[in-house]
């Protein structure tokens, strides 16, 4: 399955990339500046103004996205939800990337029983459907923001390990690495100074694909009630509570859904574009 998702490179035309970059940038800015741009407190309830449609005005305040089932300003919740989405995705990729890359490099460098244990564990982890593995882990650790990052970090490292392992095996036989080893450099030094820079490209390719996936995982688990817990806003949990009201209050589901879709779309398209840059071989396919 080489070549990855390169068919999508047809979308890697300048104006498309420019548009999705702008969308991604807008969502990132929204998330970073949430306390400033959010028009209201995302937790502030007004029980007499529940389920009001977009454009509803009360006491001079315009609810541009309407209100949710507890009369909270939906726009503010969507803005704060962007923060949850991006932070969870970023941190869980960082955790799983570090754990996965380290294990893969060590397995390939040390060989022996470490290699056998690590690579069999990778096989095992990848044999359990990812979403089920995450749900099972939540059952042990419990739901919540920090726990979600741990759950995703703990369950998503094997993919990085596979790539790091295969790449390190190739790199390890290169003459200058052998030379460094003969020159008395320690394992740690060789792995961090010489091997890591050489395998960073392919790992980054995996990480970009995983980043989009992690956004979906966060939303999916929160949708199932296993991720970020209300009243903390997350797009997945807002949609989950909105589902019950979809007939009478479509906006609760639709607005966070639209933002989620735009975010994942822009991450996917940009990821492809980045992959084409990092992996010129695939360009003509």
């Amino acid at each position: 399955m080489t070549g990855g998702a390169t068919w999508r490179s047809r979308l890697s035309v300048p104006w498309v990339v420019a548009v999705v970059s702008a969308i991604l940038l807008a969502i990132v800015v929204m998330a970073v500046l949430a306390p400033l741009v959010s028009p209201a407190d995302p937790a502030r309830q007004t029980l007499i103004a529940r389920l009001r449609p977009p454009g509803y005005v009360a006491n001079g305040f315009v609810y541009r996205f309407g209100t949710d089932e507890l009369g909270r300003d939906l726009l503010s919740r969507v803005i704060w939800g962007a923060r949850a989405s991006l932070v969870v995705a970023l941190l869980s990729v960082a955790v799983s990337l570090s754990v996965g890359a380290l294990l893969g490099m060590v397995a390939a460098w040390k060989r022996g029983w470490i290699e056998i244990v690590v690579m069999r564990l990778v096989d095992i982890m990848l044999s359990i459907p990812a979403i089920l593995l995450a749900v099972l882990t939540v059952a042990v650790l419990g739901p919540g923001f920090g726990k979600l990052i741990i759950v995703l970090g703990l369950t998503r490292w094997p993919r990085y390990t596979r790539v790091a392992y295969a790449q390190t095996l190739q790199v390890a036989s290169l003459p200058y690495i052998k030379a460094a080893e003969l020159g008395g450099a320690g394992s740690l030094r060789i792995l961090s100074r010489h091997v890591l820079p050489n395998i960073a490209g392919p790992l980054l390719v995996v990480a970009t694909a995983e980043f989009g996936l992690m956004i979906l995982f966060e939303a999916g688990l929160s949708f199932l009630g296993l991720g970020i817990q209300p009243p903390q806003p997350s797009w997945g949990s807002i949609m989950s509570s909105g589902r019950q009201y979809v007939e009478r209050a479509w906006w609760i589901t639709l607005f966070p859904g639209a933002f989620l879709f735009l975010l994942v779309l822009s991450v996917n398209v940009l990821g492809d574009w980045l992959r084409d840059r990092l992996d010129p071989r695939s360009r003509n396919r």
């Binding site: 069999r120 095992i124 044999s127 459907p129 089920l132 882990t137 059952a139 939303a219 999916g220």
Partner: protein, 306 residues
Amino acid sequence: MAGYAFWRLVQAAIAVFGVMTIVFVIMRLAGDPTLLLVPEGATREHIEALRHELGFDRPIAVQYVAYLADVLRLDFGQSVVQRLPATAILASRLPYTLELALGASAIALLVGIPAGVAMAVWRGGALERLLATFVVTGQSMPTFLSGILLILVFGVLLGWLPTSGSGGLSSLVLPSIALGALSMATFARMARIAVVDELSKDYVRAARARGLSQGAVVVRHVLRNAAVPVVTIAALEFGNLLAGAVIVETVFAWPGIGQLAIQSIQSRDFVVVQVVVLFVSVIYVAMSLLADLAYAWLDPRIRLHG
């Protein structure tokens, strides 16, 4: 070839055994179901007595050895919630998931493959961009979002199809589309790559030189040759569909094994969780084993790298 096949088989067996162990340990760490089974007013003594009768007060290692011994005799245990053999519970839900996976595969294949072929044949054209946009949309849409949108449009606004549950073909349509969308993108991608590969081969140029039209070449030769990798992907994708069913079945209240898995995890019904995850993993491992063996059979170089 035999040596390679044997080595892969051992790997697969280790993976399945590992899955059994990991799921067992995770479920025991998550706490036992006794508290969920008793009525609200039960006292500590009642809870402890029931826990003892159910065997959950034994050390994990003891429970694990007993579990392995049972599995060797093909006894997968009895659900403490439903008081039925776990395999019977799995069997009663399995047809629904298979139905859904088949429906989703049908949609993924019937839309994905023609789209991929069209993208390959009309490379660089407006049609390719249009299809690529369509496919990337399918891929970026989380299943629970597409599920809710489908329910909203076809179930609530138009009233054409049931909004959830299982009751005949009409209720299968929406969940199949929601589940099939992701695989559809994968098939389109693979079909495009396979067809582009074939189109660049010498025999295609030769055939074109002989005056055959592009359409005829594609239909007569290219599709047949490109089918091999696509079929392999289809086998792997079936395993992914089973996993994707977890969320789709929850959104559509579809009574398959995905819904069963989530419900059983929440009610800490250990033996049901174990048997469902084991089943899905065995399918998944078997599919990748078959795919690998097929590749090795087609391409002898792989055996050496095994």
